[in-house]
């Protein structure tokens, strides 16, 4: 990197580069699946859902539906030639119910008609009778009858029980953390087109094309190669398009194959929210022992989650909640118990953070509570409990924390945000303000990177260079707005030393790169960037071999630099070399592959190294509450986050800001409400409130940590950035707890659940007043 001209290409790594589709987004010319010109003869599909939370269907008379105007085909479980299952691995997600229904919203049949209106009108003609069975909708109800999707899990180190009884002080607490709907702006959609031989091509809005491919083939009873899945971009994913898209791709494919007509299945927002899973809600309780300084000497943590009707990804999600139960804190003697309840609600699924947020917020709450008990600034208690370096550095799952920068980040942020001074000012403000109260909190984040299911940590890429020197790039990752395509293109441009404008970004398709993992777990650029780099390096090596031979020059005297190739003293344009290589019969196409090294995990004992590395960050939030109404507002947030040596700082900052605001929504305004029958009452933006523009903190300062560099050999020493910033929002919730605590002069424990809606805050205030 000594040559300064190395950075002269457009779109080099570590440089700001705008999203590759930005100019198309703003012009309305970026094509999403529903924007694709509708093929002639296309059918529209509508999915009919169960009206009962738990029942046996005793009769389903669809004759009127079949006879209705415009209807081409009606599909039920009986129409499935292959397997009636679209689950990621457990085999318990029927595409259509076979009689048993286990949530309101479960697909029971589907109609494809000439128009969507006709499909909807036809579906209403069905006569369905149910024999209702008792339903268990939430954690408490499922717990009472011990209904689980798998056995409870235990992760432990040291001797928690013994340590607890030996502890100087002890405290117990519990709270509830609500779920969250993804609310991607583009709803679930699939457009299936029949091909020759009963094959099918599907445009699917999915983060996991390979899984959709496998499952569609499975449902059709065909080998995987009969199905092609393609996705250019999604209008948001956030985890919600990991397992669920298979359902809609499979239904539309089935109809397409049966009718030999293209079929579009696009969910209306309400149906999308009712039919698809969400972030798991959790019940969290703890029993902590600590000394007079606030050092945790022993802790038992119990977590219970609502998994919904099937397994989906719940085991791994709940595991990740356990992995993050420590956050940045060393817990010498700890027992983490995790219960995964089955409920008669929609099957909950992946959502940014994948259980991590629910696990992490618990320990932050413990620290706040301990600090209040001993009358210390929670920041001091946090600093005291952080992982050490070379000592006090083993996680509850036995992995050593070797890249710990939490203390430095916390100290720096406390300084730059003037945390301590502001904390004093806030206390003074509260003493003089009867109705409005402020609160402040600083919280860290440590988030483990890698799929905890080890085999998923692999990726493939495909790179072609055409004779004219233009590059075609493809990989298994999917673009949902996170800028993955831009970053991987930068990696390839950097490797060939050509402007990124010469690298064509292309739609993800299972026909080009097979057997891929979901674009999830923040791993997109780590995995696909490396795979693309591998492919580029292979081609580059061939070009070098060719040039070395042709110009009789040692290989190490050939360099690629700023759109040119230097062969000793000879200089030629990149495309001159590729033209020559073509004539010289050099293959300029290559696959690339990558698998994450070092990781290994034993799920039975919950020990090992599930993560390649950790990401760190911290946030300070200052909030204000109205103690008469519970209304609340984030006044200011300062964030310091590390993305290693960022591949693209401006994109990473976008991820940080978006993740933080989404986390803030989870903890404040976003409330999922099911009624007693199991019906989701918050199924559209009219009733489900994601943050709006004015909810953004009045002041929001975001910095990337400039010392960031991954100690592991990741792609250009960068770090993942998709999920970790979500948890920066913990500072908002803790600041709200702090503000409520002021009502009881910081002496009474605060009973407040998430999300901290105005109602939740007002009730917490009323409770503190009562006990003060």
């Amino acid at each position: 990197m000594s040559n300064p001209s190395l950075s002269e290409i457009k779109g080099a790594v570590h440089k700001d580069l705008r999203h590759d589709s930005a100019h198309k987004h703003v012009a309305g010319t970026a094509v999403y699946i529903d924007d694709v010109a509708e093929p002639k003869n296309m059918l529209h599909m509508y999915v009919a859902m169960s009206e009962k939370a738990h029942a046996e269907i005793t009769e389903m008379d669809l004759s009127a539906v079949r006879a209705a105007q415009g209807v081409a085909v009606v599909l039920t479980a009986d129409d499935i030639p292959g397997h009636n299952d679209v689950s990621p691995f457990a085999g318990d997600d029927p595409l259509f119910s076979t009689g048993l229904v286990e949530y309101i919203g479960q697909p029971i049949f589907a109609v494809a008609a000439n128009s969507l209106e006709e499909a909807i009108a036809a579906a209403k003609l069905a006569k369905v009778s149910y024999d209702e069975k008792p339903h268990y909708l939430n954690i408490d109800e499922a717990e009472a009858v011990d209904l689980k999707i798998e056995d409870s899990q235990l992760m432990a180190q040291g001797e928690a029980e013994k340590a607890l009884s030996a502890s100087k002080n002890r405290l117990q607490g519990s709270f509830y953390i609500g779920g969250q709907d993804h609310f991607y702006l583009e709803g679930q959609i699939a457009l299936a087109t029949p091909q020759e031989d009963g094959d099918v091509h599907v445009l699917s809005s999915t983060q996991h094309p390979s899984e959709v491919q496998h499952l569609v083939a499975h449902v059709l009873g065909r080998p995987t190669n009969a199905v092609t899945i393609e996705v250019r971009r999604m209008g948001g994913g956030f985890g919600g398009k990991e397992t669920h898209p298979a359902m809609f791709a499979a239904m539309s494919s089935l109809a397409a194959v049966k009718t030999q007509r293209p079929v579009k299945l696009r969910l209306d927002r309400d149906d999308d929210m009712v039919m698809t899973g969400k972030r798991h809600d959790f019940k969290y309780s703890y029993d902590v022992g600590y000394d007079d300084d606030g050092q945790i000497t022993g802790i038992e943590i119990e977590m219970a989650s609502r998994c919904g009707r099937s397994t989906d990804l719940s085991p791994a999600i709940n595991d990740r909640a356990m992995f993050h139960a420590d956050n940045c804190y060393f817990l010498s003697d700890v027992a983490i118990k995790s219960h995964r309840y089955k409920t008669h609600t929609v099957s909950n699924t992946a959502f940014r953070g994948f259980g991590g947020p629910q696990g992490m917020i618990g320990i932050e709450r413990v620290i706040e509570d301990v600090a209040r008990e001993i009358g210390k600034d929670p920041l001091d208690v946090r600093m005291l409990n952080l992982y050490g370096e070379g000592e006090r550095d083993t996680t509850p799952y036995g992995m050593k924390v070797e890249d710990n920068v939490a203390a430095e980040i916390m100290e720096t942020l406390a300084e730059t945000s003037e945390y301590r001074k502001r904390r004093d000012e806030i206390r003074a403000f509260n003493a003089n303000s009867k109705y409005l109260k402020k609160g402040i909190s600083i919280t860290p984040v440590k988030f483990g990177i890698s799929f905890t299911t080890t085999h998923l940590n692999q990726a493939g890429a495909l790179v072609h260079i055409y004779a004219d020197g233009s590059v075609h790039l493809n990989h298994g990752g999917t673009e949902m707005g996170q800028g993955l395509f831009t970053k991987v293109a930068q990696v390839v441009a950097e490797e060939f030393q050509i402007d990124v404008t010469r690298v064509k970004i292309t739609a993800t398709t299972t026909a080009k790169v097979p057997n891929t993992s979901a674009t999830a777990a923040s791993s997109g650029s780590d995995l696909n960037g490396m795979a693309a780099l591998d492919a580029a390096r292979k081609i580059k090596a061939r070009l070098i071999d060719f040039a070395a031979e042709k110009y009789s020059c040692p290989k190490d005297r050939i360099t690629f630099r700023n759109n040119k190739v230097y062969i000793e003293n000879k200089e030629m344009a990149f495309n001159e070399l590729t033209q020559e290589a073509y004539l010289g019969r050099v293959s300029m196409s290559s696959t690339g592959f990558y698998k994450t090294p070092k990781i290994k995990y034993d799920r039975a004992s919950h020990k090992g190294r599930p993560f390649y590395y950790f990401c760190y960050g911290a946030a300070v939030s200052e909030v204000m509450i109205d103690t008469l109404t519970g209304e609340n507002k984030v006044l200011r947030t300062d964030i310091l986050h590390e993305a290693g040596r960022s591949l693209n700082p401006v994109i990473d900052i976008g991820q940080i800001e978006g993740g933080f605001i989404q986390g803030m929504g989870w903890l404040t305004t976003e409330e999922l409400v099911f009624d007693d029958a199991g019906r989701l009452r918050t199924h559209a933006p009219s009733t489900y409130k994601v943050p709006a523009c004015s909810d953004r903190p009045d002041e929001l300062n975001i910095e990337l940590w400039n010392k960031g560099r991954n100690v592991e050999a990741t792609i250009h020493r960068s770090k993942a950035v998709g999920e970790p910033p979500f948890m920066l929002a913990n500072a908002v919730f803790m600041a709200l707890v702090d503000a409520v605590a002021s009502v009881g002069d910081y002496k009474v424990p605060v009973k407040m659940d998430a999300p901290a809606t105005p109602e939740e805050v007002l009730m917490a205030v009323a409770d503190v007043k009562k006990r003060a």
């Binding site: 703003v26 999403y32 529903d34 128009s115 949902m480 409330e671 709006a692 909810d695 953004r696």
Partner: protein, 491 residues
């Protein structure tokens, strides 16, 4: 009478012959004429992905406003100008400054919300440079973005003015073009439902006498004002409306008249058009209206619709009832005036006959000895429906409460006064103690429900506390409002 809808699009008159009267503009754009830049995120007016800008002739200029294409019926565009994201392309094919700014500030990630933001920003752009923070937040309140966290979009709202202020439509040209398609007679459409084969009819009278006649002849018709309720009957409930009478072209219903002691607001006046006037009379009422829906919703929705729909959670009725507003209704040639309070009989039941329509609402001007406060509580500040909405009108004689009118939304089956709380205070000194007694008395006024917006306990407790809040605000200078609106705070 003619069944052809005409509006301006890309500088040309766009004609549609006998469209389905309740076809939405969004579906027409996306599926009939392949202008797919405009997106659907919810089909209920709540996400803004479908935002377009509509220009309307107002005297010698055109007023441009952002609206939600998903709940607008196609025929209501008649006589207007439509701009979609595709319209912003410059003659050379380049990006408009609004779009350029969003690219520069990295205002899009997944990009699905982006065209909607572009159009909301474009409407703001047409208002001219240097918008305040509050103005920007208002302009964007109806646009949800799940990816960016909004910061870059707010930056673009500033940046766009630095990139060129010359990209404005030529007013004279537009005025002339709109004059050319102006209609001075009722637009009547008769079409056949593709789904049921039934006839669907649409009337858009342009004066109130014709409206009265058409309404009387078609007592089963659905009145359509802003369509922010009616639109959802079609997009969400899939209702088929046989006959629709559109009120938005009726000139008299859009009038605001001022008398010595009151203002008379035509039923067809939008929230946006009423806001400034009402804010001038009662700042809190202005703020309350600002909190109704979003800019897009306020540009469509009407005060008349907010009353006529009889909703227990509409935001203007509590304030209007507290202020002692009167309602003017008309059927045929008959006009009658009632206390607004008496209009709301029970859930889903109002004092309105078939074929009768709301003509206007009469709002008294502030009296010297009377103070007014109103509040809205919801999970989110912007674009949310009230869990509780409260309005207080309190007349003092010295220290004593002479008259009290406390009206609430969200507490009962209709917007309703807190009679017990009122009488607990009337004739008493306006003290904290007596206010607390009135708060207690309020427990007998309401037995609210629990639903997805709030529990009954929260509703009751916060309703009581809001009275205390009004008291504190009227008798001290203690801070009681979150620093939400800098402009308000500085007043």
């Amino acid at each position: 009478m003619s069944g052809t809808v005409r509006f301006l699009l890309d500088g040309r008159v766009h004609e549609i012959h006998s469209p389905d009267p309740t076809a939405t503009l969004l579906n027409y754009l996306r599926y009939d004429i392949a202008r797919t830049g405009t997106k659907e995120g919810c089909a209920e007016g709540d996400c803004g992905a479908c935002t377009v800008v509509v220009g309307e002739l107002k005297g010698d200029r055109v007023e441009y406003k952002a609206v939600n294409a998903c709940i607008i019926f196609l025929p209501t565009l008649d006589g207007k100008e439509l701009l979609t994201v595709e319209s912003l392309k410059s003659k050379s094919g380049g990006l408009h400054p609004v779009q350029e700014a969003l690219v520069e500030t990295h205002g899009s990630q997944c990009g699905f919300c982006t065209p909607g933001f572009v159009m909301s920003l474009y409407a703001l752009y047409l208002e001219g440079p240097n918008p305040t923070k509050d103005r920007i937040e208002d302009a964007l309140a109806g646009n949800l973005c799940r990816c960016t966290g909004y910061g870059p979009i707010i930056d673009a709202a500033h940046r766009m003015f630095e990139l060129g202020a010359d990209e404005l439509p030529d007013m004279r040209e537009q005025v002339a073009a709109l004059e050319g398609i102006k209609r001075d007679d009722t637009l009547y459409i008769s079409a056949t439902s593709k789904l049921t084969g039934n006839e669907k009819r649409y009337f858009a009278p342009v004066n109130v006498d014709t409206l009265a006649a058409v309404a009387e002849q078609n007592p089963d018709a659905t009145f359509l004002a802003g369509g922010t309720d009616v639109g959802l009957w079609v997009t969400k409930m899939h209702k088929e409306l046989a006959t629709v009478i559109y009120l938005g072209d009726v000139a008299e219903l859009k009038e605001i008249t001022e008398t010595a002691d009151s203002v008379e607001i035509g039923a067809g006046v939008t929230y946006t058009d009423a806001m400034e006037l009402l804010a001038g009379l009662y700042p809190d009422f202005g703020e309350l209206i600002r909190r109704i829906g979003s800019t897009q919703i306020r540009n469509s929705g009407t005060i008349g619709g907010n009353i006529a729909n009889g909703s227990p959670i509409g935001d203007t009725p509590p304030a209007l009832i507290a202020l002692g507003a009167k309602l003017v209704l008309r059927k045929g040639h008959e006009e009658r005036t009632i206390d607004l309070e008496d209009f709301f009989i029970d859930y889903g039941k109002q004092d309105r006959a078939a074929g009768e329509f709301v003509a206007k609402v009469i709002v008294p001007k502030p009296a010297a000895d009377t103070a007014f406060r109103s509040y809205k509580l919801s999970k989110r500040f912007d674009q949310d429906i009230s869990a509780v909405c409260a309005a207080f009108s309190i007349a003092l004689e010295g220290e004593t409460v002479k008259e009290a009118r406390f009206a609430y939304g969200g507490m009962a089956a209709t917007p309703k006064r807190a009679a017990n709380a009122e009488s607990a205070l009337v004739g008493k000194a306006f003290t904290e103690e007596n206010v607390e007694a009135a708060m207690e008395a309020m427990a007998n006024d309401f037995s609210p429900l629990t639903d997805m917006r709030a529990s009954k306990d929260y509703r009751m407790l916060s309703a009581q506390n809001l009275l205390m809040k009004a008291f504190v605000e009227l008798t001290s200078d203690a801070d009681t409002r979150l620093a939400l609106r800098q402009e308000m705070a500085n007043v």
